[in-house]
């Protein structure tokens, strides 16, 4: 199917309306809007949202920015909540308590705090049970809603309010958890990693596959945060592009266990280009800290190579 951003924007009005209170330059709202645009216009959706920036700025009583049905319960249980909604749908549809000619889709949004950390158990449970739902993690790499505290998604060396770059400890000292791989290990039909670049093509197409693949599907979407990362709001798309070009955030999908890397840069840009525009990595550029950049580069390289290997292995002819 061809992808034409202009046509999609014209034919599919945004299901997350304007007027919400997310920050300028935040990566999350364009992600939510684009994921929801991948829904067929005739399909109804029940959106579930973990507590976080997105929830507290899109549904402040008595206003909501969501045009579909929406539920928020708590921080760690968005997937479990949505699994209950989906179970109700299955049960009621089977019993003829809902119209047979109408489809409802189930899409859950959570930040990295609500997904990598406090919500990982409930998401793992829901995915193992095989509910027909999509979980979209908008990963901004820290607890931004409470004021930039480190999460297990925070990259190594990043300066956050609970891993401050100090004179003894230079930022977060642990590596970032690889949640996409954890979700792949659930042997679900569809898992993918993406971000908002190139007119949202990759994001849109993956959202469409995720929504219309039967069973649980997971999307891990990089969502830069101007406050937490320290970049000018207008540079959102530039940061996304650099994350992709440096292979910090590879674009790939795993369909029934087979890996497909969706973008391989002809020339991988050095990680410095992604790190330099962000204040959270500023201390890495101080004299004497070159080792931090080298170590960061090494980790990006080894993760990228591992991904290339996985693609090769899983696509080998029998």
């Amino acid at each position: 199917m061809g992808y034409n951003l202009k046509e999609i924007m014209a034919e599919k009005p945004s299901r997350l309306t304007s007027g919400h209170r997310m920050c300028a330059g935040c990566g999350a709202p364009p992600i939510a809007r684009m994921v929801l645009r991948a829904l067929k216009p005739e399909d109804h959706a029940v959106i579930c949202n973990a507590t976080g920036c997105m929830e507290v700025s899109t549904f402040i009583y008595p206003y909501t920015a969501w045009t579909d049905s929406f539920i928020h319960t708590a921080f760690e249980c968005a997937a479990a909540t949505e699994s209950g909604v989906e179970a109700a749908y299955k049960s009621m549809k089977r019993q003829g308590k809902l119209p047979q000619d109408k489809n409802t889709k189930f899409i859950t949004f959570g930040g990295d705090g609500g997904t990598y950390d406090i919500g990982i158990q409930s998401m793992s449970g829901a995915f193992e049970r095989g509910h027909d739902m999509v979980y979209v993690c908008y990963d901004n790499g820290a607890y931004m809603n409470t004021g930039i505290q480190r999460s297990s998604a925070t990259p190594k060396f990043a300066d956050t309010t609970t891993s401050p770059a100090g004179s003894v400890i230079p930022g977060k000292m642990q590596s970032r958890k690889d949640l996409t791989e954890i979700m792949v290990s659930h042997h679900i039909p569809y898992a993918a990693q993406t971000l908002a670049v190139n007119n949202f093509k990759d994001l849109y197409e993956k959202a469409e596959k995720a929504i219309y693949t039967e069973g649980p599907a997971f999307l891990n979407v990089l969502a830069p945060c101007p406050r937490g990362w320290g970049y000018p709001t207008e540079d959102l798309m530039l940061i996304n592009k650099l994350a992709m070009e440096t292979c910090y955030w590879p674009l790939y999908e795993v369909i029934n266990g087979k890996y497909k890397i969706n973008y391989k840069p002809k020339e991988k840009k050095p990680i410095e280009e992604f790190l330099r525009p962000q204040k959270r990595f500023r201390h890495m550029f101080e004299p004497g800290n070159e080792w931090m950049i080298q170590e960061f580069q090494k980790e990006v390289d080894s993760r990228w190579q591992a991904l290339l290997d996985l693609e090769e292995i899983t696509n080998k002819e029998e």
């Binding site: 708590a74 479990a80 179970a87 009621m92 308590k97």
Partner: protein, 395 residues
């Protein structure tokens, strides 16, 4: 048509759930309530119900899934005990504040720690301010009956609150008794169909549930929730009246046993009421005017009803199977005594903490309570109102 059955308390609960045939059940195993989801999943596997059974990975997710399902427009049920409900804690408050009429079977067990799997009421008592209606059951028959009434109460438009039906772990949950059950059709008719006004799966009217609710609105929403608990009182009585018409079995907020001319009495909940009634029978033979008040409905708390029932007593003991750990007394004791005060009733009262962690409570124990009450009547003094029953060391 009435059917005589021999069922354990857990079987009685599972049987009621089968007849209610909820749309969704989400549950996680925990002793002593595990059998309920076990029996129920066999009903699902054998096509006896239309339910979608969600075998969640924790109780937190069990309550979260029930919230999601109920908000979606389904009837959702669960069962748990002790630490299981502790893990649900956060979600109990969310369920009641979102006004979702979920029904839970709570098989009472001691909350850790240290770990203990046996009966007391520390689980239910900890949730007493969570906005759930709490109904206690003396025996297996009451477990069954209370569950049949639960949805009618919870789903009433004036109420819209979740309900937990409590019973004593092992004492009733694992003991087999002869009970009378109704046939499936009768139950189906009595419970009725669920037609929520607003629900997530209604594509014609999308709704948003669970907002950020700030200073300008949360107070009013909480006020409405509090009112629902007030309204629930009449609804509980109305449903009990309908149930009596159907089955002949009568229920109120409390049950008074030999209270007409009683001078001393104990107030208790769940299975202890049976032991207390038996003790009272023996004491009556000795000419002691003893009585029992069994509290069936603990939330909403029937303060006036209890105050009225005890106003002519010369002394009363309130038996709590959960300690308040507050240097005053058990939770039932503090509620009953404040209920006495606001209703202008003054009866010498003592708090007994008993049966913690499954410690047996015998006829001798209850007799000891009545002996102490007689002493209070004689001396006119309550020297130490915060006492323990059946514990080694200082009572």
């Amino acid at each position: 048509m009435k059917i005589r059955e021999r069922l354990s308390g857990n079987e009685a609960a599972a049987t009621a759930m089968r007849q209610i045939n909820p749309d969704v059940v989400a549950a996680f195993p925990i002793t002593p309530s595990t059998e309920i989801p076990q029996y129920f999943s066999s009903f699902v596997s054998n096509g006896k119900v239309d339910t979608e059974f969600v075998a969640v990975e924790s109780e937190h997710s069990a309550m979260s899934a029930c919230i999601g399902a109920e908000a979606a427009g389904a009837r959702a049920m669960t069962a748990t005990s002790a630490n299981g409900m502790s893990l649900m804690w956060e979600m109990l408050y969310i369920a009641s504040s979102l006004r979702l009429p979920i029904v839970m079977s709570l098989v009472n067990r001691a909350v850790s720690g240290p770990l203990n799997i046996h009966n007391d009421h520390s689980d239910a008592m900890g949730a007493r301010d969570s906005g759930w209606i709490q109904i206690f059951s003396e025996n297996n028959q009451e477990v069954y009956d209370n569950l049949l009434m639960a949805h009618r109460i919870a789903e009433n438009k004036k109420v819209l609150l979740p309900v937990m039906i409590c019973q004593d772990g092992f004492i009733t949950s694992h003991a087999i008794e002869n009970i009378e059950i109704e046939d499936d059709e009768t139950v189906k008719k009595f419970v009725g169909e669920y037609h929520p006004e607003h629900y997530l799966l209604n594509d014609k009217e999308p709704i948003a549930i669970g907002p950020l609710d700030l200073q300008a609105y949360l107070f009013e929403h909480k006020r409405q929730q509090a009112q629902a608990m007030v309204e629930a009182k009449q609804v509980i009585l109305d449903v009990a009246k309908d149930f009596e018409k159907l089955t002949g079995r009568k229920y109120g907020f409390i049950e008074e046993y030999k209270m007409e001319d009683a001078e001393i009495a104990v107030i208790c909940m769940n299975s202890t009421a049976g032991t207390a009634k038996h003790t009272v029978n023996n004491l009556r033979e000795k000419g002691i005017k003893a009585g029992v008040i069994k509290v069936r409905v603990f939330r909403p708390f029937p303060a006036e009803t209890i105050a009225n029932a005890i106003k002519n007593l010369k002394a009363v003991a309130i038996l709590d199977k959960a300690d308040g750990l507050n240097a005053v007394g058990g939770p039932l004791f503090t509620d009953v005594t404040s209920g006495m005060l606001i209703n202008g009733v003054h009866v010498p009262a003592i708090s007994y903490i008993y049966g913690i962690g499954g410690r047996d409570t015998t006829e001798e124990d209850i007799t000891e309570v009545f002996t102490n009450l007689e002493e209070i009547v004689k001396t006119g003094k309550v020297d130490r109102p915060y006492r323990y029953l059946g514990v080694r060391g200082e009572k």
